[in-house]
Symmetry: D2
Subunit: 347 residues, 4 copies
Amino acid sequence: MIVVMQENATETQILAVTAKLKKLGFDVHMDRGVNRTVLGIIGDTHNFDQQNIEVEDGVSEVLRVTEPYKLAGRAFHAANTVITLGGLEIGGEEVVVMAGPCAVESENQIHRIAELVKQAGARVLRGGAFKPRSSPYSFQGLGKKGLEWLKQAAKAHGLLSVSEVMDTNTIDLVARHADILQIGARNMQNFALLKEVGKVANPVMLKRGLAATIEELLMAAEYIMSSGNPNVILCERGIRTFETYTRNTMDISAIPVVKKKSHLPMFADPSHGTGKRDKVLPMARAAVAAGADGLIIEVHHEPEKALSDGPQSIYPEQFSVLMEELRTIAWAIGRHIGPKGPIREGD
Amino acid sequence: MIVVMQENATETQILAVTAKLKKLGFDVHMDRGVNRTVLGIIGDTHNFDQQNIEVEDGVSEVLRVTEPYKLAGRAFHAANTVITLGGLEIGGEEVVVMAGPCAVESENQIHRIAELVKQAGARVLRGGAFKPRSSPYSFQGLGKKGLEWLKQAAKAHGLLSVSEVMDTNTIDLVARHADILQIGARNMQNFALLKEVGKVANPVMLKRGLAATIEELLMAAEYIMSSGNPNVILCERGIRTFETYTRNTMDISAIPVVKKKSHLPMFADPSHGTGKRDKVLPMARAAVAAGADGLIIEVHHEPEKALSDGPQSIYPEQFSVLMEELRTIAWAIGRHIGPKGPIREGD
Amino acid sequence: MIVVMQENATETQILAVTAKLKKLGFDVHMDRGVNRTVLGIIGDTHNFDQQNIEVEDGVSEVLRVTEPYKLAGRAFHAANTVITLGGLEIGGEEVVVMAGPCAVESENQIHRIAELVKQAGARVLRGGAFKPRSSPYSFQGLGKKGLEWLKQAAKAHGLLSVSEVMDTNTIDLVARHADILQIGARNMQNFALLKEVGKVANPVMLKRGLAATIEELLMAAEYIMSSGNPNVILCERGIRTFETYTRNTMDISAIPVVKKKSHLPMFADPSHGTGKRDKVLPMARAAVAAGADGLIIEVHHEPEKALSDGPQSIYPEQFSVLMEELRTIAWAIGRHIGPKGPIREGD
Amino acid sequence: MIVVMQENATETQILAVTAKLKKLGFDVHMDRGVNRTVLGIIGDTHNFDQQNIEVEDGVSEVLRVTEPYKLAGRAFHAANTVITLGGLEIGGEEVVVMAGPCAVESENQIHRIAELVKQAGARVLRGGAFKPRSSPYSFQGLGKKGLEWLKQAAKAHGLLSVSEVMDTNTIDLVARHADILQIGARNMQNFALLKEVGKVANPVMLKRGLAATIEELLMAAEYIMSSGNPNVILCERGIRTFETYTRNTMDISAIPVVKKKSHLPMFADPSHGTGKRDKVLPMARAAVAAGADGLIIEVHHEPEKALSDGPQSIYPEQFSVLMEELRTIAWAIGRHIGPKGPIREGD
C-alpha cells in the first residue's frame, strides 16, 4: 500500500501518518520527491482498511498495490482449484456444461429435460426451487417438492445437480438435495448468506452481481472461503450497461481476467447474460472460446409453457447443435467437452 | 399492454394469440395496420407476466403501457403517503433530516453525536449495528449491544432512530430497538428479506440498489407493501456508472422521477451517494433543491477515528452550516426544515 | 408507430392528435380501451420525428414499432451486404482479418509488420497516420508521409489497407492512399464527417462509440449510406461500463444483435476492446465464435517501442498462434479464414 | 508518477526500468519493500505517456499521482478563471443563465424568445444554427441565416449569444456571429475541432461527452487551451447510464468535483441532462444548489411547434418561476443571479 501525501503536506503531518502506521504494526519506507512525499507501507495489508489512513491530514491518496482478497487470489495459490465431485472435475481440462430448466415445474418436466440434456452431453442438471423474481406477483418456485424432484431426476440420469439458495433459513434444505448451491446475482453481496454457505460442504456457484466489479466478485468469494468453504465456482452472467437491446451485457472479458487473478473455476451463464434465446448460442460459443471452465444454460422442452424465463430457454435440439460446436471450439484451445479425444472430420 | 405482431405474422398466429389472451381473461382490441397487426390487451395486467405472450409465434414485442407496480404507484393512490411516527410527519411539507454515525461504536460515541445532530435540527438518529462490508475482514458492527445504545441515545435526545437490517433472522431484534428499519442498497432485491419486513409495524427505508432502475426500486417497495406494510420510505444513494472520481454517481433526477411515479416519501443519502466528505454538502443541497422529502447523512464528531465510512462522514460544524443552507433552499420551494416560518434576513 | 393517450385524455385531445397525424399524411387506427385510447399510425414513419406527437396534450407515450433506420436495416434488405474489394469479399463466408500497428511510425516498421501479418494470413494492413489521442501532448501521427508508407507496404505484400480519417479536410488525402477509411469511436457521431465519407468510393469501417447504443451505431451508418456510400463495415470495439479492470467492456453480444438487425458486415476490434495484450487473444476467439465477419487487430514487432498503444499490441508470434486457433473456430460454425477447406487433424 | 514492480521482478529488470527513466530525463527514487520494489518518478510527467513504462518487463503498474492536465487544473492556477465578456463576468460570483430555443427557426421566433428570457433575467441567448441530429432525416438547422438572426436578436435585447460549432470549416462563420462558441457532447473528443477553436478569440463552452469521465473533459479543455484559447467554460449535460426513465443521468456531483480540480467556470444543462420538461426545473435548482457557475436552458414560447427538442423546452412562464427560485437558492450559498442584493421577504 502506498500513501501519497499532498504537495503542501507539512513535516508534522508526514510524521503523524508515519507514526500511526508504525503503531498499527507496519514498516514504512519514506520517499521524498521534489513535489511531494510518498510513503510505502510494508506488511500484510489484506485485512487493513485503507480509509484509516485516507482521513489523516495531509494525505492525498492511498493506493493499493496488492489485491484486497487473499484466499481467492492467485498470489498465494498459483495452481487452479479443481473441484472433484461425484467423479466430475470442475476447473480442470474438461469444459463442464450444466443445463436444465429455469425452475422445476413438475416431476415429469424435470425428468424429461434431464434425459434430453444428458443425451447431449451435460454433466449437471440445473433447476430452481426458490426463485428470486422482480415482481411479487410472479411464480416463486415449488420449494421443497421441487428440490426432491430435482434430486431424483438428476440421480435417474447420472447427473449432478445445482439449485439456488436465497435465504439463510433454507440452506440446509437445499444442501441436502442439490450437489451444488447457487448464489444468484442479486444476492452476491448478501453477506449474511455468504457467511452461512461458507459453512456447508457443498461447492457454491457464485454469480456476479449486475453492478459488481470483478474485484467485488472475488471479495464475495473471499467471504465464503474465509468461513471455511474453499469450493467456490465463479460465474459471469451479464452486467448492467446503457445498452438495452440485450437484457444485460455479458462481459466475456471477465473470463480471462478472472482466470488470471484467481485460481477458482470460472463459468458463464449465456441465458441470463443475454435474456434472448437466439443470443444464447453465439454467447455460449464465445464464452468457451474465451476460456470459460464451464457453462450453465437454460434448456426447456416446451419454453413457451415455462413458468419463468421461457424466452431465454433454448430447445433441446438447439442444445444438441450447440454441444457439437462447443466440442470443436474447446478442442481448438486444448480442452474438451465430455470424453477427451481428437475431433474427427465430419463431426 | 400492447402486443405488436411481426410484419409477416399469419392469420393463424394472430388468432392463436388472441385466443390465448381471452382464455387468460382479457379483452382484446385488434388493430390491423398496413404492415402489421397490433393487439390491445384490456384488463388488469399488473399480475400478468408479459413473457407468456412474448414467446408466442408471430409476436414481435409486448409493450407495457401501465407500470408493473400497483401499490407503490400514483395511478391508484394519487395523494402523497405521509408517515406519522412519534409526532413526526415523513413525506409531508417538512424536509426531514436523519443524521448520525455510520456505525454505533460505543455508548459514549452515539450519545455525543445524538446530542450534536439534535442541536443542529436533525429529527432521526441513524446508527448501524449490523454492517454490510465488502471485505470479510472489516468491522461488522456491534449487533445487539449497538442497538441498545442507539435506542437509549435517541430517546435521551428526543430523536427517532433508524438502523439497518441485513437478514431475516435479526428483523425482530432490530424492530424492537429502532423506530425505522433500513434495507441497504445491496439487499434491495433480497426478496426473502423484503417479504419479512413487510410483516412488521415499523416503517422501512428502502435504499436503491447500485444497479437498480427506478422501476425495480418501486417493484422492491411493492414486495414490502404487498406483504402488508404500507410505510415505505424510498432513498436514492448513488448508482454505479463509468465515472470513478466519486464512489457512485448520485442520481438526483431520480428524486423528481420517483415523486411523479409514486406517492411514497423519497429521501436521499449524499454520504453514500458520493463517498467523499467535501461532496456531501453540495449534494445534500442539490437533493433538497430537487424536491427530496428528507436526507440521511453520516455525521461523526471524530471521523478520523470512525470504524467505518470515516472519509464520508462530515463534522458536526459542517452539519450545522448545512442545516442553515438547507433551511433557505427548502423555503425557496415552499417547504421547511424544523419549525415552519419565513426566512429572516441574516439567518 | 403507436400513440398511447393518457388515462384521463379528453375526447377533444384525442381528436386533435388524430387530426394532426392525418394532416401529416398518416392514416390512423383508433383503439379505445377501458382505461385509455391507443392510436396506431399507419404510413412510413422512418423520417418522422416522434417528438412532434409526444408534445401534444393528452399524449402519454409514443412507441416505435419499426426501427428508425432504413438503409442499414434488414427489413428492406434481407441479404447480407458483401463488399468486394481487390478480390476480397468482406461480409461473405470468409472471416477477414485486418492487422498491423496502431500507427505508422517509419517506412521500415510498416514494411516489417506487413510482411509478418501477411505470412500469418491477414488480408488487410491497418496503420494510422492521423491519431486521435486524449492528450494534446501525445504523438499525433505522421500524416501524409505515413499514408504513403502504408500504401507502399500494403502493395508490396499483396494486402489491402485501412486507415483512420479524423476531419473532413483530410478525407481526400486518406481516400487516395488507403483502400478502406476508418471512422474512430470518438467520431461515430461527428455528423459532418459521416456525411462527407458518404460521398467517397472507398468502403468505410465505422467503429461503435464508447457510449453508443446499437441503434445509434446503425443510425450513424444510415448517415453515410444516405449520402451515397452503401459500403459500410460496422465494428464493435468496447463500450464504457463501471468495470475498470479492462479499459472498455467489449460487447460481444453486439455481434449477433447487429447481424440480426442489419445486413452490413460486422467486425470486432479486440485490441481497443480490451486495451491489454493478454486479453486480445481470448476476445478475438470469442468474437469469431459469436459470428463476427472479421477482426481488426493491433500487431507490432516491437510493442515496447511503439509510439502508441504498445501495451495492447500483440507480438507476431502470438498473432500466428491466434490465426491457427481462429481457423478451427471459424470451421466449427461453417466459415473459414483464408483458403476454404476442412480442418486436418494436427492442424 | 509511481512505478510498482511485480513481486517477482528481477534486479536486472528493476535496473533496466530505472535506466530508461533516467534516460528520459527523470530522477528516480527507489523504495525496496519486503514483497516488491516501488519507483518514484521525479520530474514533470505531464507530457509523458505512462504506457512507455507499463510495457517494460517486470512492471506491474504505473500510477499517476498528478493529473495529466496542466493548463486546465488548479495545481498551477489556484484562482478561479473569470471570463469578462461585454460587461458580463462568467465564473465570478454571479450565477449566469443562458437561455433560448434549441434551434433558431425563424427571425420572429428568436426575437420573441430573446425578449421573454431577457425579461426573466437571462444574460446570454442560446440558439443553434448547425444541429447535430442522430437521424440524417431530422431538421439540421438553418445555417448562416440562423446565425444572423441570432446575432440580431441578442443585440436587440442586450444579450450575449452562444451557438454550436460542428465542423472546422464553419468555425469562422459561427465565431463572427456568436459571442460564445459551443462544442456539443458528441464532439467533445473531436480533436481536430478542439484544436481549431483553440485559435479563435471567442470563449468556448465545452460540453461533457455522454461517456466522458471528468478527467477526459478536462483533457479536452486542455486541447483548446494548449492551442491558445484560455477561455473555456465547462458544462455537465448528462451521462449515459443504465437508467432509462431520463434520457441521460445528469451527474450533479460533477459540479463540485470540477470546481475542485479546475479553475474554469462550470455550467450545467438541465434540458439535455434530463430530456423531459418537468425535470428541467428541479435539476436546474439542484445544479445551482451544488455550486454551478451558470446554466444553459432551452426555452421556447411554443414548444409543441419546435423543430427540435420541443419536449425538453420549458415555457417562458416556467422559466420566470424558476429564475425566482434560483435567486433564493443562489443567495443561500453566497451567490446571486442578476443584480446583487438581499432576498426580500415575499420575493
